[in-house]
């Protein structure tokens, strides 16, 4: 049975308030049956230094990715992973993590490919939980394996591939990387290629809105009004647009995907997870350099 929504007024402004909960809500519901809290961080060891009591760890790199092909786990792999974490199909799964929930949003996006029914982000993530002086635990839970059905991954609704992005040129697109990555001045030494892209710049027509602009100082999401000013005002998007978002490997853009789809209620937002590490290495795809789209 799904847990109740967080009724905090800030969340009620969002298009899908059921997708977000506060640290306070998590603290109050930690013991509730039907809830699993999962931490997803950039740093693979951060969870081990202390985490929300009872939370399991979900690592984007070693668990959500296929170990061989550049892709995510398949339906069977996802079912196995969820089962190991004690998550069943009707579990309320609350994700949180470091860096403004960057990786937690990525994990949430991957879980969405499998249509897990009740996914939520903990607003403010790990940083806010710690800043509020809430308890951390180094005990690793050993959940009893849960039954999780094998559900096919749906790559149509919220995921975009390179050919689809080529066909999408001229339509709304958001590049969420840093301004330096967007313009193509890669800020690294020649002998140390960063993240392996052969060409710098951005996909023609993509507007630059660095992902972290959606987060406030305390790592929580900005209010609905503030987000509308950025994405609908400055970037000129409209909720009925067909939007593609991308970054380097699709992690930072998952954060923006979450904002557009769930906080602002856009109907069709796809995350291009191939992102710059695919585009910037592809033969004969168009690239724009400089600060203009």
């Amino acid at each position: 049975m799904a847990l109740p929504q967080d009724s905090a007024p800030k969340f009620q402004e969002y298009a899908h308030p059921e997708m977000i909960v506060s640290t306070e809500w998590v603290a109050q519901h930690l013991e509730d049956p039907g809830l699993v809290v999962a931490e997803s961080d950039e740093d693979v060891l951060l969870y081990e230094t202390g985490h929300v009591p009872g939370a399991v760890k979900l690592d984007w790199h070693t668990e959500l990715n296929d170990p061989v092909a550049r892709d995510y786990v398949d339906g069977a792999g996802f079912a196995r992973l969820m089962s190991e974490k004690g998550i069943s199909r009707d579990t309320t799964l609350v994700l949180y993590g470091d860096k403004n929930n960057w990786w937690a949003a990525y994990a949430l996006w991957v879980c969405s490919l499998f249509g897990h029914p009740d996914l939520r982000l903990m607003d403010g993530g790990r940083a806010k939980w710690i800043a509020e002086g809430r308890p951390l635990s180094t005990d690793t839970p050993k959940p009893a394996p849960a039954d999780y059905p094998v559900v096919d991954r749906d790559d149509q609704r919220i995921r975009a591939f390179k050919d689809q992005v080529l066909a999408h040129l001229g339509q709304p697109m958001i590049d969420v990387r840093s301004p330096g990555e967007y313009s193509g001045e890669l800020l690294h030494m020649p002998d140390y290629p960063q993240e392996g892209a052969l060409r710098g710049g951005h996909i023609p027509g993509a507007k630059s809105v660095p992902w972290a602009r959606a987060a406030a100082e305390d790592a929580t999401f900005r209010t609905r009004a503030e987000l509308e000013a950025i994405y609908q005002g400055e970037a000129g998007l409209s909720p009925d647009d067909d939007v593609v978002v991308y970054c380097r490997i699709g992690e930072r853009s998952s954060h923006t995907w979450f904002v557009l789809q769930h906080l602002l209620g856009f109907g069709h937002v796809r995350n291009y997870d191939g992102s710059w590490t695919e585009w910037g290495n592809s033969v004969r795809v168009p690239i724009t350099r400089g600060t203009s789209p």
Binding site: L45, H61, L187, H188
Partner: protein, 156 residues
């Protein structure tokens, strides 16, 4: 799986001991060992604390890491690392290099096989992408050793 580097160069005894420690524990304990290393990274001396401008950034690490290398007149190499507590993996890598190389002489540091990090058995646990950060730290340390030998640092 071989623990010998491809180049055939041997590890110095301290690094070899670290590699043996990592290889000697089951997978599930290897991350714990890395966490313990991260907790043992020595604090910065006063001349570097709060002075990242005096250190070299290592952007290849997912979380910013700063390092400083000093080659003393007798060619002893001193290493200093600065990484935030929220980056235990990066701190762990830095601590391994510190435990394995700090205080050795320049030739010994330069003889470290570049692929040494792949011998720790961490690739599947940590991901090869994350391990690249450690290889980058090692290349930057070596480059600084070479440069400082060629042109000793101005008297400090």
């Amino acid at each position: 799986m071989t623990t010998q580097p491809v180049s055939g160069a041997a590890l110095n005894p301290r690094l070899q001991e670290i590699v043996d420690d990592f290889r000697g524990v089951p997978d599930k304990d290897r991350l714990q060992l890395l966490l313990e290393f991260s907790q043992d990274l020595p604090p910065l001396p006063e001349r570097y604390a709060g002075h990242r401008d005096r250190m070299e950034p290592v952007p290849e690490c997912q979380t910013p890491l700063f390092l400083a290398v000093e080659v003393e007149p007798d060619e002893t190499v001193r290493l200093y690392f600065d990484a935030p507590a929220e980056a235990p993996t990066t701190r762990g890598f830095a601590a391994i290099l510190h435990a394995g190389l700090d205080g050795l002489d320049a030739d010994e540091v330069l003889a470290t096989p570049p692929e040494f990090s792949s011998q720790l058995g961490l690739a599947d646990l940590v991901s090869p992408l994350r391990l690249r950060g450690m290889a980058a730290m090692l290349s930057r340390i070596k480059r600084q050793v070479i440069q400082q030998r060629a042109a000793p640092r101005a008297a400090q």
